[in-house]
Amino acid sequence: MKPFVKLDGLVAPLDRANVDTDAIIPKQFLKSIKRAGFGPYAFDEWRYLDHGEPGMDCSTRPLNPDFVLNQARYQGASVLLARENFGCGSSREHAPWALEDYGFRAIIAPSFADIFYNNCFKNGVLPIVLPAEAVDRLFGETLAAAGYRLTVDLAAQTVATPAGETFAFTVDPERKHRLLNGLDDISLTLKFTDKIQAYEARRKGEAPWLFA
C-alpha cells in the first residue's frame, strides 16, 4: 500500500450529503476483475452526459459542465471536501480505488459511512472527519479562492489552511501507524498465526460444530 505522510493539495468541493458508493463508481464498472483503472469512471453518471460502459475511452466523452469536478479550477485536485455520510451504501472497494485513481488522497467530511471509511485506509487514502462548522468554513474558503490548497499532515493529525489556521483531527493509532508506513495488513496479521491457531484449538473444544 502507498503510504500517506503529508499532502499539500488542491481542494475540490462536492457539496451534497449522503454521496453513496453507487454514485462514486456505478455498477457497470464493478465487472472489472482488476484493481486499477477506475479513475476515469469516478462519479461517471454525474461527470459525463452520455452513458458510460467499461472500456470506453473517456477522453472523448461529453463532460457535464454542471458537475463541479469538471471545472477547470479543480483539475488536479487531491483533497476532496464533502458533506455528511460520505460513501454510504454498497461496500464496494471500487469506490476508494476510483477516488485514488482519480487523484484524491484525502477526503474531508463531517462524517463517513463505516465501510467506506475503513476501505479508504486499505488504499492509502486518508478520510478526515472535521466538525460540520469547520467543513462549512472550508467550503466557503474553497469557493472564494481559485487554487485553494490545504496541507494535510497525518503524523501531526492536522489540516492547515493557506492562512495558517489548523484543524486537528483524530485517527486510530493503529490505522495511522499502518497508513504512515504503508504496511500490508495480511503480513502483519500472519505474525499472529500462533494466537489464531490457539484460538481455533480452544474454540474447537467449546463449539466443535463450528469446525465440522
Binding site: N18, R35, E45, S90, I115, L190
Partner: protein
C-alpha cells in the same frame, strides 16, 4: 460479571488479540464469496503465494451478474461472463465449494447462506457485500467488508476491528395487517436516518420482532446497513433453533442439541445497557413507500410527497429539491397518485418464500377478478432469491399465479436491485421495487426507484400506481 448485550457476547467470543488502542483481531467463522468483490482478492493471494486459511469456512456463488432468463444460453455480456468465469476458476483452483450458475442451490449469497444452514447463530460471518447484515437475523455477527478485507479473511481467517457501540431498536406491539418487516425497516430508517446507525451495531428487539418469522427478521437486518449500521441482529429464540434443524450445513444429532444449548444463550441480558435505544410502536407503522433518492426519504402510502419548503434545514432542503427533480415528482403529490412503469419483486431484502407468497396473494386476488398487471406497467418481474426458493414456490403453484396475472417468473439472482445484469430501468422509468436502495441510477441510469414491501409492489403492478395494501388486506392477505 456485568450484564452483556448480544453484541458483547458475539464480540467477546471471537477476540483473538487486542492492540493497546483497542483495535482487536477478530476470528471470522464464515465467509460468503461472490463474483464482484472477490477477483482482486484472489489475485492478491496468488501474487503473494498465499492460500485460504480454512476452506470449510467458505461458500461461493455467482449472483450479481447472472441473467434471470435463458440461462441455458450462458451470459451474453462478455465482461459479466468473464467475471463469473473468474469466480469459477478461482474456486476450482483453491478448492472452494461453489454453487455455480446452473447449480439448483445457486442464489443470492444472503439467501443461500441461511437456507443451507451455512449461516449459524453465534458465528461471525462476512462477505464482500454490505447486505451481509442480513445474517444477523440468526444471532450472528455479520457485516459487509471491502475486497482488501475479503483477501485478509481468506488469508488469515481474521479481521482487525474496533468494537462498535450498541443500539437497541425496540418495536413493541402488533404489526397491523398488511404491514411487514420491510415496512418496519423503512420506518426505522425514516426515524433515525441513513446515518443514524453509523458506528453502531443494531439489535432489533421487542414483541413485534419476536413475532416476525426468520424471513422477516432477515429482511429487517438486511436493511440495517441502510440506516448506516454495518451489523443488525436479532436474539436467538425457538424460531431460530427450529429454522436451523435439518439444513445441509447444520450440525446433526447430539451436536445439534449441544449447539442449540449454546445458541439459546445468545440474547441480551435483561439488564444489559445499550449506548442508544430507539423505540417504535408497531401498531402505528403503516405500509411505507420511499419518494426520494435515499432510503430515509420515506413516507406512509397514505401520505404525500414532502415539500422542501417544510425541510428542517437548508442542507435537507436542497437534498429534497434535488431528489424531487431526479424522481420527477412534485411536492405534496399523494403517494397513491404516483404511477409506475416497472415492478421488481426480488433482491436479498425480499426474495424469500414468504415474500413471494405475500406478492402472490395480491396476484391471486387479481386473477380471481380477471385482472392482470395494469396496462401502463411495462414489466412486472418476480425474481426468487435462490434455486431452492424457486423450486419451493413452484411446488406451491406461485409461479402459475404470477404468470396468470401477467408477471414474469425469472431465475434467481440480484437482478434489478442493482442492474449489473440485463435487468434494468431505462432513463426516466419509475419502479416499485422490493429491493433496498433508491439511490440515483441504482436500478439503471436515470431510473426512479420506490422501495416497498412485496405485497405493495404486487399491488402497484395490478393497479398501475401505489395503493394501500391495507385497503385490500381483508380480501387479499387472508
Amino acid at each position: 460479571m456485568n450484564a452483556s448485550t448480544l453484541y458483547d457476547k458475539l464480540w467477546d467470543a471471537h477476540v483473538v488479540h487486542v492492540e493497546p488502542d483497542g483495535t482487536a483481531l477478530i476470528y471470522i467463522d464464515r465467509q460468503l464469496v461472490h463474483e464482484v468483490t472477490s477477483p482482486q482478492a484472489f489475485e492478491g493471494l496468488k501474487m503473494n503465494g498465499r492460500k485460504p486459511w480454512r476452506l470449510a469456512s467458505l461458500l461461493a456463488t455467482p449472483d450479481h451478474n447472472i441473467p434471470t432468463i435463458h440461462r441455458d444460453q450462458g451470459i451474453a455480456d462478455p465482461v459479466s461472463r468473464t467475471q463469473v468465469e473468474t469466480l469459477d476458476a478461482n474456486c476450482a483452483e483453491f478448492g472452494i465449494t461453489e454453487f455455480g450458475m446452473n447449480d439448483p442451490r445457486q442464489g443470492i449469497v444472503h439467501v443461500i447462506g441461511p437456507e443451507q444452514g451455512f449461516t449459524q447463530p453465534g458465528m461471525t460471518l462476512v462477505c464482500g457485500d454490505s447486505h451481509t447484515s442480513t445474517h444477523g437475523a440468526f444471532g450472528t455477527l455479520a457485516f459487509g467488508i471491502g475486497t482488501s478485507e475479503v483477501e485478509h479473511v481468506l488469508a488469515t481467517q481474521c479481521l482487525w476491528q474496533k468494537k462498535a457501540k450498541a443500539m437497541q431498536v425496540r418495536v413493541e406491539g402488533e404489526l397491523p395487517f398488511g404491514v411487514t418487516a420491510k415496512d418496519v425497516a423503512l420506518a426505522v430508517i425514516g426515524r433515525i436516518g441513513t446515518a443514524g446507525g453509523t458506528g453502531f451495531a443494531l439489535e432489533f428487539a421487542g414483541s413485534a420482532i419476536r413475532s416476525l418469522s426468520m424471513e422477516g427478521r432477515m429482511t429487517l437486518c438486511n436493511m440495517a446497513i441502510e440506516a448506516g449500521a454495518r451489523a443488525g441482529m436479532v436474539a436467538v429464540d425457538e424460531k431460530t433453533v427450529e429454522y436451523m434443524r435439518g439444513r445441509p450445513y447444520s450440525p446433526r444429532g447430539e451436536q445439534f442439541e449441544q449447539a442449540a444449548a449454546y445458541w439459546r444463550s445468545l440474547v441480551s441480558d435483561a439488564d444489559a445497557r445499550f449506548d442508544a435505544v430507539v423505540e417504535l410502536d408497531a401498531a402505528a407503522i403503516k405500509p411505507q413507500v420511499t419518494w426520494g433518492t435515499s432510503p430515509e426519504m420515506v413516507v406512509a402510502v397514505d401520505e404525500q410527497v414532502p415539500d422542501p419548503a417544510q425541510a428542517p434545514n437548508s442542507v435537507k432542503k436542497s437534498d429534497w429539491e434535488r431528489a424531487l427533480a431526479y424522481m420527477g415528482l412534485r411536492a405534496n403529490t399523494p403517494m397513491a397518485d404516483i404511477a409506475v412503469d416497472k415492478v421488481f419483486v426480488g433482491s436479498c431484502t425480499n426474495s424469500r418464500i414468504e415474500d413471494l407468497r405475500d406478492a402472490a396473494k395480491v396476484a391471486q386476488w387479481a386473477v380471481a377478478r380477471n385482472r392482470k398487471v395494469a396496462g401502463n406497467v411495462k414489466l412486472a418481474m418476480v425474481v426468487p432469491g435462490s434455486g431452492l426458493v424457486k423450486a419451493q414456490a413452484e411446488a406451491e403453484g406461485l409461479d402459475k399465479v404470477f404468470t396468470a396475472a401477467g408477471f414474469e417468473w425469472r431465475d434467481p439472482g440480484c437482478s434489478m436491485c442493482l442492474a449489473m445484469n440485463a435487468d434494468r430501468l431505462e432513463p426516466g422509468e419509475r419502479c416499485a421495487s422490493t429491493s433496498n436502495r433508491n439511490f440515483e441510477g441504482r436500478q439503471g441510469q436515470g431510473g426512479r426507484t420506490h422501495l416497498v414491501s412485496p405485497a405493495m409492489a404486487a399491488a402497484a403492478a395490478v393497479f398501475g400506481h401505489f395503493v394501500d395494501v391495507r385497503d385490500l388486506a381483508n380480501e387479499v392477505m387472508q
